[in-house]
């Protein structure tokens, strides 16, 4: 799965930038706010991971309730097509750097719902996924292990680029949008303007645009922010 990602690292000019970056990525790995989107059965394994038995907070991970504040989107259980829409909406409303963890076999391959017409199978077709934790359901130990893996990825992002999967969504937006459109129809649009965001934060590549984004442009209602104006 990681082979598919193409992360483009921009060059930094400031000599001190590396020290800052290191410090910030250290803090990022030490402080992770988690939004759990528990669609089905997997949610039951999270309380032990959070409470006194395994205590996520000692790793600096705590639950948050809105995507705006969260760093991790934790999706447990099967993702039906209708749910997927909401998951994508939520994912796009999270602020980068953001990470996705798919818990349970359902997010990997559909799990026991593999032949259901109503559930999406591969989550990473629709958004870049950092860590999958397979199992039906994975034990809290496995959840902790996965979170630890994510922390290591973020910490060593500079060397291995494993923690920058989120950039892929901007870099290859056309691909993800294409998969979403195949499922939801041509007039699919989220309230978040990903292309404008990619432009603003210098995350766009050639693959950001394509025939799917063209299709989006054709159908979308514009999402320009209201600017203050005196006259």
């Amino acid at each position: 799965m990681k082979k598919e990602l193409k992360i483009i690292q921009k060059e930094r000019t400031n000599p001190l930038a590396h020290v800052f970056d290191d410090f910030i990525s250290f803090c990022q790995s030490k402080s992770l706010f988690m939004l759990h989107y528990c669609t089905g059965c997997g949610a039951i394994e999270l309380p032990p991971a959070m409470t006194s038995r395994f205590d996520m907070e000692r790793l600096g991970i705590q639950p948050m309730v809105t995507p705006r504040q969260a760093d991790i989107l934790l999706i447990t259980g099967y993702v039906s097509i209708k749910t997927l829409k909401r998951v994508i909406l939520t994912y796009e409303q999270m602020q980068s750097p953001k990470y996705v963890i798919g818990i349970c076999s359902c997010t990997v391959n559909g799990g026991m719902y593999w032949q259901s017409y109503a559930t999406a199978k591969k989550l990473n077709e629709y958004m870049p996924v950092d860590v999958y934790i397979a199992g039906c359901m994975p034990r809290p130990e496995a959840v902790m292990e996965g979170l630890q893996r994510l922390k290591d990825n973020i910490r060593n992002d500079k060397k291995e680029h494993k923690g920058s999967a989120w950039k892929d969504y901007f870099n290859r937006y056309d691909y993800y949008l294409g998969n979403q459109q195949a499922l939801f129809g041509d007039d699919w649009q989220t309230p978040t303007d990903i292309i404008a965001e990619a432009k603003l934060y210098d995350l766009e590549t050639e693959e950001t645009y394509g025939k799917h984004t063209k299709l989006l442009e054709k159908h979308q209602t514009p999402l320009l922010p209201q600017e203050m104006r005196i006259k």
Binding site: K30, R58, M64, V65, Q69, Q95, P97, P225
Partner: protein, 295 residues
């Protein structure tokens, strides 16, 4: 007071507040963790959180007022810290007094309310409506407490109050009922259970904070450190004799902040109208009885 001294105070009073406040945040999270038989966060966790939030690559703004709201929330507290005398540093406490301070403390709330309003998120607006109602609820006992203290010490200046207590006895000994009422108000002011209806994470998605990302949330985390510090030091100055040095002041402040957290988990959450009802009944009654003794 020479200019250099003042400059140093302008920089160091908020800075100390920030650092101490972060330790208070850590302490509160540790207390919560220990009560739930967890280990809790590592020592630098509050710092990690704030650095992480300020280090976010992307963040959203809903407009200029959203930005200004955060600036007002942080800036209002930075100003308030300079009005709050600590040992060795009096700032401009002589020029404002405790009434000014208690009004200063409303500015961050108003700033945050403005910022949240601009977000156009219904959850945020509901949260603000509840938060302002809660403010109405806890400010009445708080103002009574401030009145009682000011009347008892015959001064509205915190410096004067601390001096009085250093010469006589601590306020908590002379006015125990008022001090208890103050603790009640403190619980509401810090938004701890049972008075945390305006945050209500599961129902209205942390209310006012619902649209805050990156440095906006970071600003609110910084504001929380100031809030805890202010509450702790203010209460310690009003009732626990302040302190002649940080060594004597800070333990008291930490103790004051630790109390609401320690009892918070015993309670469920009150509805908004019940928050008003309970805060206008018990602490106000205690404060009035106490005032009857003082006046």
């Amino acid at each position: 007071m020479n200019a250099l001294h003042l400059m140093a105070e302008l920089i160091f009073m908020p800075l100390i507040a920030f650092i101490v406040g972060m330790m208070m945040v850590l302490m509160m999270r540790k207390i919560a963790a220990r009560l739930q038989r967890r280990i809790g966060p590592p020592f630098f966790q509050p710092l990690y959180d704030i650095v992480k939030l300020y280090g976010k690559d992307t963040q959203i703004s809903h407009g200029l007022i959203h930005d200004i709201g955060i600036i007002m929330a942080v800036g209002g507290y930075i100003g308030a810290e300079i009005l709050l005398p600590v040992p060795g540093m009096e700032g401009i406490a002589a020029k404002g007094g405790v009434i000014t301070l208690s009004y200063f403390l409303m500015i961050p709330s108003l700033g945050m309310a403005l910022g949240v309003g601009q977000c156009a998120n219904p959850n945020g607006s509901i949260g603000i409506s509840r938060a302002l109602t809660a403010m109405l609820a806890y400010d009445i006992p708080f103002i009574l407490v401030v009145f009682g203290a000011a009347w008892h010490y015959q001064s509205t200046s915190l410096i004067g109050m601390i001096e009085y207590q250093q010469m006589h006895q601590w306020g908590i000994v002379e006015m125990p009922l008022l001090a208890i009422a103050g603790l009640f108000a403190l619980q509401g002011m810090l938004g701890k259970q049972p008075f945390e209806i305006y945050i209500a994470p599961a129902e209205i998605a942390t209310g006012p904070m619902v649209e805050m990302s990156g440095k906006y949330m970071g600003g609110l985390f910084v504001m929380q450190t100031f809030q805890l510090y202010t509450a702790g030091v203010l209460y310690a100055s009003l009732f626990l004799g302040g302190g002649t040095s940080f060594l004597t002041l800070l333990p008291k402040a930490f103790l004051v902040v630790a109390l609401p957290m320690s009892i918070a988990f015993m309670f469920p959450r009150y509805k908004t109208e019940d928050v008003i009802r309970i805060l206008w009944k018990w602490p106000v009654m205690l404060a009035l009885i106490s005032l009857a003794f003082i006046l």
